[in-house]
């Protein structure tokens, strides 16, 4: 099985054991996708990790957008902003960087 910084990942690059997550892994995953993480990325990643802690699921994009709009403002809670940070999708790519499982209801 593939590894990133010593942590096992599945065939789609998601962490097998969510407890393995740390910032180093996150930065390496982003580097592999040619994404340089900024404060704005970390804002969303922290949000995703908090959401998972509270609800035990990775939110669907529609739900994520709405929740971010509520917490961080409408200028951030929209697909355009989120896709500009995570070109492969805030759900799929964002959750992967954040060490969450693939979103439930991600179709």
């Amino acid at each position: 099985m593939a590894q990133i910084c010593g942590a096992e990942v599945d065939e789609e690059g998601f962490l097998v054991d969510l407890k393995d997550w740390n910032k180093e892994i996150c930065i390496q995953m982003a580097k592999d996708d040619d994404v340089e993480l900024t404060e704005e990325h970390w804002g969303v990643i922290d949000f995703l990790r908090d959401y998972f802690e509270e609800y035990q699921i990775a939110p669907a994009v529609r739900v994520l957008t709405k929740a971010i709009a509520k917490k961080m403002g409408k200028d951030k809670g929209n697909s355009k902003y989120l896709y500009s940070l995570f070109p492969y999708g805030p759900g799929k790519q964002g959750c992967r960087f954040a060490g969450l499982p693939k979103p439930t209801g991600c179709i």
């Binding site: 509270e54 609800y55 035990q56 699921i57 939110p59 669907a60 529609r62 439930t104 209801g105």
Partner: protein, 135 residues
């Protein structure tokens, strides 16, 4: 626009003895993406799924009862609970998690998603559904 169907998910088993409860919840969350009219019913041991204060530390399983709090964000806000099933188990509405949603048409006011109904009322609600899925 495609027509909207009424889907009801019947939850009849407790949370952790079998996979039915968590599988039902996963299907509900996935189906929510299709913007259908979704409701959930908790009957028989299914009422235990939404009891407040669950702790899974001792059994080493994910405490997915927390996930029910996300349903409001998925626009699922009709959670019917059988009054008789609660009473048979010595439970009441105060033992159930406070599950809420924000009403878009009422300035995002927070409202309860829980509706305790009698089995007769539940029967009537079920007869209005296009699809009932039992777990």
């Amino acid at each position: 626009m495609a027509t909207t169907k009424k889907f009801m998910y019947l939850n009849r088993r407790s949370s952790f003895g079998t996979v039915y409860a968590i599988e039902s919840l996963e299907v509900v969350l996935i189906a929510a993406a299709f913007e259908q009219d979704v409701s959930l019913a908790f009957i028989d041991d299914g009422v235990y799924q939404i009891v407040e204060g669950q702790n899974t530390d001792g059994i080493g399983m994910k405490n997915f009862s927390k996930t029910f709090h996300a349903l409001g964000d998925y626009d699922i806000n009709k959670l019917y609970v059988s009054k008789e099933s609660l009473e048979e188990r010595g439970l009441s509405e105060s033992d159930i998690m406070p599950l809420v949603y924000e009403d878009e048409d009422d300035d995002w006011a927070e409202k309860s998603s829980i509706k305790v109904v009698s089995n007769d009322e539940l029967k009537a609600i079920m007869s209005e559904q296009d699809v009932c899925l039992s777990f």
